[in-house]
Symmetry: C7
Subunit: 254 residues, 7 copies
């Protein structure tokens, strides 16, 4: 096994100026099931693949409501995600209590970044092992933010994280303009098509393994599971052939 002598804790720099423990925490994101976020002029959408540890359990929660105007998709350690979701909800709640309005998303994302940064500089803690996609709508319109275990975050046009998410990012890159100009229903469709790229072979999107969250102008956060998802997936299959073809080509490129 690869090992150097500077990768045992988060307060030790390697001679090359790297903190290996932060990089290792990034790997945890790649092991989570995929999550895709997209936005157009009016809406932001998060879709995510849910895994189920057994037929008996519910599928894991992959999208968390944060406030009426923001939600969060995740890939990585669910328990770390839940801890951060609680923090973010408290931030939103306190902002609303103080100012009686939606917390601006950039401010919200800054707050969680600060919290995550501290865990990358304190000996007694470890970096959070989860990647976040925060979707929301505020005075500046819809947003998709990606937040990494390193506490870095990015304002994105669209983004995909988690296992096999490279294919989804390829899809998103190829369809940047179409996504941007799509309507609400088209936006969801693009999100699902991108998510489908992340499926293991011989799997497909189902109402069980897919979550669709939508937030937008004059529309508070809705997280759809089960039946509500079914309609969107069915629609996808009707005209999803183009997406499927793209799937094949991108599979070679990965």
């Amino acid at each position: 096994m690869f090992r150097n002598q500077y990768d045992g804790d988060v307060v030790t720099w390697s001679p090359q100026g790297r903190i290996h423990q932060i990089e290792y925490a990034m790997e945890a994101v790649k092991q989570g099931s995929a999550c895709v976020g997209v936005k157009n002029q009016t809406h932001a959408v998060i879709v995510a693949l849910k895994r189920s540890p057994s037929e008996l359990s519910s599928f894991q929660q992959k999208v968390f409501e944060l406030d009426q105007h923001a939600c969060m998709g995740i890939a990585g350690l669910s328990s770390d995600a839940r801890s951060l979701a609680r923090f973010l909800r408290e931030q939103c709640f306190e902002f609303r209590w103080a100012y009686d309005e939606d917390m601006p998303l950039s401010r919200l994302v800054n707050a969680v970044g600060d919290k995550m940064q501290r865990c990358t500089q304190l000996w007694s803690r470890r970096p959070f092992g989860v990647g976040l996609l925060v979707a929301g709508y505020d005075a500046k319109g819809p947003h998709i933010y990606q937040i990494e275990p390193s506490a870095n975050f990015f304002d994105c046009k669209s983004m995909a994280i988690g296992a096999r998410s490279q294919s989804a990012r390829t899809y998103l890159e190829r369809n940047v303009e179409q996504i941007k100009s799509s309507d609400r229903e088209g936006l969801i469709k693009h999100a699902l098509l991108a998510l489908r790229e992340c499926l293991p072979s011989e799997s497909s999107l189902t109402q069980q393994n897919t979550t669709i969250a939508i937030v937008g102008q004059n529309e508070t956060v809705t997280i759809n599971d089960d039946d509500k998802v079914q309609g969107y997936i069915a629609q996808l299959d009707d005209d999803g052939t183009a997406g499927q073809a793209m799937d094949d080509s991108s599979a070679q490129g990965e």
Copy 2:
């Protein structure tokens, strides 16, 4: 013995993005005696195998009452379980004191998940070494929640944890629909049949080694040991032949 150099504490990530200490704590659950939870439309039931360190001791407590509407079955370190049970009881008590009603189970489970998550991110603590099945009834009906040492939790139709619980899960999966539509007595019977799958060979369910806990609509938590259990087990033996047959086949499958 297998060993890598990143598995000594809970604040160290492996280069593959794993926290081995959390995974090792999961093993402690597999060493506890089995515990099964099931629910139908109106009730949730926990049944558990009790071990006794000697003929002189009482059998270990495997099911803990949390409040009038919730109880918890466990597999793993009893002392860790007791510590968590105390925490959960306090949560329920404080909620009832503040709102004068039953604490919603999802909220209760979130609270214990938060507590357990902190122990997976602090250098000076270790993850709890116990798996929990929380059963209860609230405004949304009956619930079975599974909580792992990783602080992950799942809303389940039914679940089995602990030693040899794979066989029980197989039973539960095969009988999902029957369990869902069973009546109160049938629910208990299914739970016991699943639990019987977890017995070591040449053992059987007895009034000494079995606990049955029931909670449901208009029915506060009852935890039955000894004589009260006897009736249910006897009934099982009367018509348990089908279950027994299933036992054999599933034994091959394990």
Copy 3:
């Protein structure tokens, strides 16, 4: 010497899901001199072997009064035991101050279990190295509780802990029914016969090395040493032949 790499502290799980430091602390109990607890319908009795570091010292205190209705026998590190005894006395005192009645024993035992559990999960402490037998009488009748360094505890019919206690447990198991139905004097006799099983060869119970503690219905805790013990031991020798015979056979079984 056997050693693996996961047994150096209490916050490290082994890959098999064990915490070796807790198991090692259990060994300390086996090195303490024996202690036996029994109960019938009305009384609970603790008898213990006292060791003396020299002829000049008093024998070590093996039974601690906790309150008028509870006492505690120990095997293992005396100083740890004393620390726990102080804690338990404070619990009883505070309960009595608050409610003006005897603290229920299950509640008392839960309190000490919580305290001991914390020492199994904190890096900077070690598990207590002492096993406890708490005897008492409360509204639910007489009780014998066993508490281990792991913070596990058990409600027992009777129990023996400490060096060579397996022989005593064998005696207790063979005489479960007689003990249960014995009168106060018979109960003490059974306790002493069980304790005698734990003696090293060529030793015998004497008024110097034996403590007898009794608590029961309408009888507050009495801890008897020296002369008061002599009578019980003498009585034992008068008709102890049956016990002696049993001794021999069980010696083979050990």
Copy 4:
């Protein structure tokens, strides 16, 4: 790999009187994308290269507004930079609240130096992994300050930090006098010409990858991205040939 036995933490001196961990943290700056700061008699300008982790993300924020009279360019760990930016903003805010005027830059830089110094002397923390260029205008005119992970800082005529910044420093050294006497537009041009030296081969400055921040006499901080940048870059290409030639020669010298 090179390793000595004194480079594992920040509280250990090597026998040669060095703290290797501070030196390693300095390496993190060299891995960040370049950032250039220049000033003339009236203005200070920061220009920086932005990297984007993917086409889908916004480019990383490289320049942070601190107050109306000060901003900060960075090279190194973005999350560490953000944490320091927050601290600096609070300093400015509190100063303005107390004195109702701009915080003098030397005082501001001292404050962040103190904060960073503490992380070089405490065992449980690590040095910040980011280099800062603080640009601002106060009663003493325009300033460019460089702050290193070692907590050292320097009042600079101009400065470049980050990957391939040596070429930019060479440009700046050769043009010290011209920069000093340039007007506002010329100052920006020199900054961009210096920054162009830091580009990887076959890359060029674009409105996407370049940020231009300006602050000066009677001019509060403006951070320009995208379209506003385009004009400056276009202007550069018109007459930038001399700079390009210099590029070639300095490339050999690096």
Copy 5:
């Protein structure tokens, strides 16, 4: 040198259930100069050998007054002893302040045992390296208590600790009855005869190297050094021949 891998700190159990660091601290007592405590029906006496690091220094203080009714002889680390003496004096003072009477000795000894126990269970401390003999007189008569670095303590008829103290213990054991029934002067004589057993060969008790402390019924603590000691030693030599003979025989027995 013998070494196992579980003896480096006080919070690590060995697989055999031992805490080696506590045992090592016990060795420190054996390196201190001897100290003997005896009691009869009315008095308790501590005699101790004082060492002097040079002819220029006073001899080390070996007996500490704790209160008017209690004193303490020590063997081991003097500075640890002094720290404990201060603690014990404060205990006595506070008790007297609160209740206006002598602190019962058992209670006093319990208090110091608690303090010492904590140092055997906390990672950041070490066990005290000193053995104590507390002598005193309270409502229950005269007492000699022995307290070990393990925090164990014993109520003793008489006791000797420190270097070569085994010979003294042998003397004390052989003369248990005579000591018990001796008068005040005889008690001191027995103490000195026992202490003489601990002398290195060719040394003798002198007024310089011997301390005699007495406390008893109607007699507050007196600690005698120098001239006051001389009388007792002279008396010893007059009729000490029997003691000397005993010395020889016991020397063979050691």
Copy 6:
């Protein structure tokens, strides 16, 4: 590389009674650029060589004003120096606030010595890596104090610290009497001549690399850089030949 096993932290004594980490911190002073302090009957002067990390940066600050009557030259880690300067300024400020007069220098130096001593005895900190020359004038006249990373300090007639400072000390020793009896201008000249001894070969004192600080009777601290320094250096070259000759001879002696 030389290494023993007792030099890893500041709380470990070597068997020879040394604390190697303190000694290693002393090495950091030798790597700083030189600093010279001299005094006569009425004035104290600090001169220092400034290094510049690049042509673009200001030279490093080497002399810090502490109060109107005291300043400090440094050699070693600048960031540590700045942290100590802040502490010393606060001391002076608080003293002035409380007593409305200059803080006596011996008291000031004691305060910083205390602060630095604590860092040599605490595990979680490291010794400061900087040597200080504090110059000032108080009721007892002018002073030069040297303070080492070990927290030792010395009242000096004159002193030189930093790289190649041995030559300067040789100069100062040879001219002790002349310096003592010099006037203000002569004192500065001697300081500069001593400082010149510390220059690397082929370097010379310039207005860029030299700082001159003066404080004295009826003269508050003045720190001269640039133009103000030029006059003094020019004067030096006029008649500095004797000093130059001395330079050569001492170079051989080093």
Copy 7:
């Protein structure tokens, strides 16, 4: 180099019951320059050899005034000594403030012993590396106390500590009676003769390297350096031949 595995920190006992780190700290005293303390019926005197790191520095302070009736000579780490001196001054000041009289010396020495003991039992600190000789005069007459890094202290007739102090102790032992009965001037002479024994060969006592501190009945502490010392040293040379002869003989004995 000698090394065992139990000498790395102060909270680890060796199997032989020793704390090596305390012993190593004792070595630091032997590396300090010598310090001698003597007393007669009315006065106590401390004389000490001062070292100077260079001709330019003052000699190190070796004797510290603590209060008007007490002073302290030291050998070992000066910065540790200064930290303790500050503590002792505060003790004296607080006592005087509370009781309006001189703090008894035994009480003062106990206080510093307590402080030093704590550093021998806490993991995060190290033992102080300095030996102290406290001289003073209180209601019980003059005193010389020796305090070691182990926190042990001794009431002494006279004492010498530091490098080559064995010769001085030999002188003091041979002249115990003469010193005791000497007058004030004779006492100082004896102290200096003893101190002369500690000189390296070819060195001699001078007014530069010698400090003489005197305190006594009706005489507050005076610490003499320079000129005041000269008279005493001159007197010594007049009639010091006997002392010199003794010097030779004792040199052979060392």
